[in-house]
């Protein structure tokens, strides 16, 4: 039997402890910012996702057929279910709606790094607000979350979905040819753009702009300055003005050091309509988070309302933290208790419970050998004997404690451990 499935994996205790730490931090930040967590079903209807351009290709979704022949999917993303919630059960609730989530998303083919079919995503959605302040709030929250989980130097790359559209609006190019040019610009493929310009006829101004775009990104101030001088359409200038506003607010908040600007930033998720942003860490070459504004997404449910959100890629975040060893891991102490006489069983369990109450991990087991102690990562062993107990550091010192009164035992044990440290 081959019981292994490619692209999915077991999460074992050591990793799970780290994950729990991250989960907890993220949940605390989200909840403290009033983004209440929801859990949506693992199974969604195919219709929810079908026909949303640029979200997930139909062929990349896991499909399940239920007993009535209806096609379901394992949710490939977590934004759609929340949009569904907002448009249905929370249709009449006051806006803005603030939700957070931390769940798995499933995709059969994942072009992104760490090609897992099951990915963990944690994120927030702010639905029903189109203001600059809500865009700002998202970026602030992302920076805060990244820093809290241990990303020392987060970097948020900002773009705007309308920029590329507006720059295109002015060009007299056939729609199907625009697709190619868009791809080239998104890939910063200067060579491609150069070759492309040989095929189409454009004004000198337009050619100049297109050729400069692939290398135009980085410091928001510099990029905006360059673009201000470019012969761009009125609409493009409007978008730039909005972004300038955002950047100056970020500067006031002393967050501009974390920000870069890429006018040709394009998301894999084609549903973004305004602000787009991605979260990175200096020195790590994978995506940690992505987000943006998706004002059209709830339209599908007959309700049109603005929304903005982001998702953290937990597996990449773990990978980054593993490399930088930036885990804020609490080093809990682990005890193993054993007894020789059956009459001591009760004492062993009581003592174990006392230790647990004091915040330690404790287990009672009489058959432990060295291998078992190591596997369970036991730090201290307590052996109850007739008139004394032996306290042993796993692979280290040991001490004998007299058994006079039970109450004092825990105190004596902890005292001894402190002494050793």
């Amino acid at each position: 039997m081959n019981a292994f499935v490619e692209g999915v994996r077991d999460i074992l205790p050591a990793e799970l402890r780290k994950r729990r730490g991250i989960y907890q931090t993220i949940r605390e930040v989200f909840e403290a910012n009033a983004y209440r967590e929801v859990i949506t079903p693992t199974l969604e209807s195919l219709e929810l996702y079908a026909g949303i351009e640029g979200l997930v290709d139909k062929s990349e979704m896991f499909k399940v057929v239920d007993d009535r022949g209806q096609i379901l999917v394992l949710r490939p993303d977590l934004t759609m279910p929340i949009a569904r919630l907002a448009a249905s059960r929370f249709q009449d609730s006051p806006r803005p709606l603030k939700f957070s989530y931390l769940s798995s998303a499933f995709q059969s083919k994942n072009s992104q790094s760490l090609s897992l079919k099951e990915k963990t995503q944690a994120g927030v959605e702010l639905i029903g607000s189109a203001s600059l302040e809500s865009d700002l709030e998202m970026i602030m929250l992302l920076i805060k979350t990244l820093k809290k989980v241990g990303v020392e130097a987060p970097l948020i790359d900002i773009g705007h979905a309308d920029l590329i559209n507006e720059i295109f609006a002015d060009l007299k190019i056939a729609e199907n040819e625009k697709v190619e040019l868009r791809k080239l610009l998104a890939a910063k493929n200067k060579i491609g753009v150069k070759n492309y310009l040989r095929k189409v006829e454009l004004s000198e101004d337009a050619e100049d702009v297109l050729l400069r775009l692939p290398s135009l990104f980085g410091s928001p101030k510099k990029v905006i300055e360059v673009m201000k001088e470019m012969p761009l359409s009125q609409e493009t200038k409007e978008v730039l003005k909005t972004l300038s506003g955002l950047f100056s607010r970020l500067k006031e908040l002393e967050l501009l050091d974390y920000i870069t600007f890429d006018p040709m930033l394009i998301s894999r998720h084609g549903y973004y309509t305004g602000l787009i942003f991605k979260g990175y860490a200096r020195g790590y070459s994978n995506l940690l988070a992505s987000g943006g504004r998706y004002d059209n997404l709830t339209e599908k449910f007959g309700v049109e309302e603005p929304a903005v959100g982001f998702a953290l890629e937990i597996e990449n975040l773990l990978d980054y933290l593993n490399r930088t060893e930036n885990f804020a891991e609490d080093q809990e102490k682990r005890f193993l208790l054993s007894y020789q006489s059956d009459s001591d069983m009760q004492l062993a369990f009581e003592l174990a419970e006392d230790l647990r109450r004091a915040g330690f991990v404790a287990e009672v087991y009489n058959g432990a050998n060295k291998e078992y102690l190591d596997f369970q990562q036991v730090n201290f062993e307590i052996c109850l004997e007739a008139d004394k107990l032996e306290l042993k550091q796993n692979g280290g010192a040991s001490a004998v404690i007299e058994r006079n009164q039970k109450e004092a035992l825990e105190y004596l044990i902890l005292n001894k451990i402190e002494e050793w440290e």
Binding site: S111, Q112, S113, L155, D157, A187, K188, N189, K190, I191, G192, P214, S215, F217, G218, T260, D262, Y280, A281, R282, G283, Y284, S285, N286, L287
Partner: protein, 213 residues
């Protein structure tokens, strides 16, 4: 900060790449490729250069293990990875072409195409709306039409000499190819200054050659 990691496609492209970097004023040892080492720390330039199989260059760069890569466009087209392709290095020039025996069968039915580039071939014929059977081979593609394994091959053609010596002719030129500089999408942002400097320096050498020619 860590050294900038550059992945080069083992073989001729790497040799040219080292030459190019040297011309651009980077301090790479001239004979570095003579050894069998696969990883080189160039402390003076803060580079780490790794030599990998051509098809693996895009993978190293997409995953961010390498920040930059130098690889042929043929490999990029086949691998179809999510990368920034920033510079045409204008060497390793060749083309993708369809070739076969001189008496090409006219019929589109049951055409068999042998290639080292199955993914690109699939996309190419799909875009033309032609149904073909693709046979993936790992080398000596020219043998396929000679032995009857396939009637057409899709391969890179540089001078056309190998084809000619095996009695094959080009049916169709598909597109030009050359070596490219590719960049990891995140590194481009997180290490912008270092990477921009390299792009500029290499671009100067490449474009400079152009004006001399």
């Amino acid at each position: 900060m860590d050294n900038l990691c550059i992945a080069m496609a083992k073989g001729r492209l790497a040799k040219e790449a080292v030459k190019l970097f040297r011309q651009a004023g980077y301090d790479l040892p001239e004979n570095m490729l003579k050894s069998r080492k696969l990883i080189f720390e160039i402390e003076s330039e803060k580079f780490e250069i790794i030599l990998v199989k051509p098809a693996d260059v895009p993978i190293y760069v997409e995953y961010g293990t390498a920040d930059l890569g130098i690889v042929g466009k043929d490999t990029l087209l086949e691998e179809n990875r999510d990368l920034y392709e920033v510079l045409d290095l204008e060497y390793g020039v060749c083309e993708f072409a369809l070739a076969g025996l001189p008496d090409r069968k006219d019929t589109l039915l049951e055409r068999k195409v042998a290639t080292k580039y199955p993914d690109f071939t699939r996309r190419y014929f799909r875009s033309k709306g032609e149904p073909v059977e693709i046979i993936k081979l790992n080398g000596s593609i020219e043998l396929a039409p000679l032995t009857g394994l396939a009637d057409t091959i899709l391969d890179i053609v540089e001078t056309g000499r190998t084809l000619k010596e095996n009695g094959l002719v080009i049916y169709e030129s598909i597109r030009d190819l050359s070596a490219r500089l590719v960049v990891n999408k995140v590194s481009m942002k997180t290490r912008q200054d270092e990477i921009a400097a390299i792009i500029e320096a290499l671009d100067e050498v490449v474009s400079g050659d152009d004006s001399n020619a």
